[in-house]
Assembly symmetry: C2
Homo-oligomer: 335 residues x 2
């Protein structure tokens, strides 16, 4: 059996796998700190994935999936600002039973998303931990701070738009936990749904397109449409009204939800982890936004409601009444 690598050898091996190039990076991993020369404004966010809380390896997450998802979900916050991805810093907690091959597989997943998005992994920290955990800090860039889109700028009269389709990640999780729920959908659809859960795509090009088109507020759908819309409403001091009938549902969601005895709309609204973007945009900018999203060729754009006077977010059901759900609470019961 190979001699286990020590901390410094392991870090060196991990570092070799990870892209370090970045236009703003002057000094990368391996010193006390990375040195960058940002121009304009930076957007910085940190997100953690913890084994047993955010993922379970026994559900079918590979180590590469975990690495990829940790970076992708962190980058999703930059997408929601309309920022261009720049650098990532990864604090890795390694349980004693995790071997080097597995750690390197995790680095492969990180590297895949880093390469696909043009993110430099500029620094990190490795320590022992009872469970696998990754805290990923990402830094994005924009020429000027006013080009970055906060959650707080939605104005009455703005339209609400959402990228892509919702509920896929929740359906994918159901399929990972209970494969028999996929009997009613084809294998290709089932695989696509699982992929939504395992390998979310940060909507960086769509976020940049929406920011350029004049989005007034934006958020990524990590906790679920209902909860995340409520955040925008609170920060914007406005009311968000969403038409349930307009919400684009992931293909196969209806069948999987039916097999699980769940409401597909409830899964789409509160399942979370779709990492699509919800944006408010003045009505006269909708065409430009749609054009730019089309050019970005990453995902679709669907109007789903509007911003009004008042407060809170509601999802109006087709038959009357509203759906009120709570988003995924990170401190709630573990999975």
């Amino acid at each position: 059996m190979a001699q286990p690598l020590g901390e410094f050898e392991l870090i060196a091996a991990l570092r070799e796998k990870l892209p370090l190039a970045g236009p703003r990076l002057r000094l990368g991993s391996g010193d006390d700190a990375a040195v960058t020369v940002p121009e304009g404004a930076t957007a910085t966010s940190v997100d953690a994935l913890v084994e047993g809380v955010h993922f379970r390896l026994e559900d079918g997450f590979s180590l590469a999936d975990v690495g990829a998802k940790a970076l992708a979900t962190a980058l999703s916050d930059l997408a929601a600002m309309g920022a261009a991805p720049g650098e990532a810093y990864v604090a890795l907690g390694v349980p004693p039973d995790l071997g080097e091959a597995e750690l390197l597989a995790l680095a492969d997943g990180l590297a895949e998303v880093a390469a696909a998005t043009g993110t430099a992994v500029a620094g990190g920290d490795v320590s022992r931990s009872p469970v696998l955990s990754l805290a990923v800090t990402v830094v994005g860039h924009a020429p000027r701070p006013e080009l970055l889109v906060s959650r707080g700028g939605a104005r009455p009269g703005d339209l609400l738009v959402v990228t892509g389709e919702l509920g896929g990640a929740a359906a994918g999780l159901l399929l990972l936990e209970r494969p028999e729920l996929g009997a009613g959908v084809g294998e290709e659809t089932a695989e696509r749904l699982r992929h939504r859960q395992l390998r979310p795509t940060p909507r960086l090009r769509a976020g940049a397109a929406l920011a350029a088109a004049g989005a007034t507020a934006m958020i990524d759908l990590s906790d679920g449409l209902a909860g995340d819309a409520a955040h925008v409403a609170a920060q914007s001091q406005a009311a968000l009204r969403i038409d349930a009938a307009a919400v684009p549902l992931a293909k196969g969601l209806a069948e999987v939800a039916a097999a699980a005895g769940r409401d597909p709309l409830e899964l789409a609204a509160s399942g979370g982890e779709d990492y699509e973007l919800l944006a408010a945009i003045p009505a006269q900018r909708l065409t430009e936004a749609a054009t730019r999203i089309g050019e970005a060729a990453e995902t679709s754009l669907t109007p789903i409601g509007e911003v009004g006077e008042g407060k809170g977010a509601e999802i109006r059901l087709p038959g009357g009444g509203t759906l009120r759900t709570r988003g995924f609470d990170q401190l709630g019961p573990q999975r």
Copy 2:
């Protein structure tokens, strides 16, 4: 019993405790990402503290100590670059048995160090975790990238200097684990040694002074003098020769080491966690460095050796021979 706070209420409560003001901060915690407008260069580093690995609450760490130490040790990396502290981002892993009062105490510790150093806590993430963990990313600033000091610039002929006294943190840990070892030192000294372990001070002013005085390489002593000197040697492709007799030892270290049957020099060289700075500096700049350190009024400065041709780091013992020790391996056996 009070209803436990949900994630969002807890984050709001934590946020209230933490200083958010910062000259470069345009949008702080509570959005998808924080927005800053850096000028010049940034230095960014991430450091994690994990319960059972880096600290044990049963050793006498209060929650405030843990919060303070997590931020202080991350900032120590900025000190080692000569960067001015700017913003911090905290990924907090919260075990189920940790109450709100304890979390708020932890935030108090974080806030204390943030206020003392002028650091804005600009963002964070809270999630469930089997043990308490904090991954802290810090961003520091300098007008130009060439003003930041890497580990790689030490040149043959440079002097080696160290700030403060070494071995205090290791002696403090021994006292926390076995209070009876303090019988030979006064309570005031014992308290100071424990404080070195519980509440390290990032040498930000000293680091800035050394950078301004022309330090060619710098590192903070987190793993221990021997291991950290080896990092500088490797990055600088030079040999670091340290005179053991010149190394400033913490007051009380000798007595505590004797009571524990340990070699004080070995504790000072490999105990780690002193978070003093080791720097290489051209001989003709030593006086200026000493003057600037004196003006910074934070700590002392001691010449302890020199840089030569070759590679590796060695600590030469007074009676001949060298001390070769390995630094603290983050992936080694748990405490």
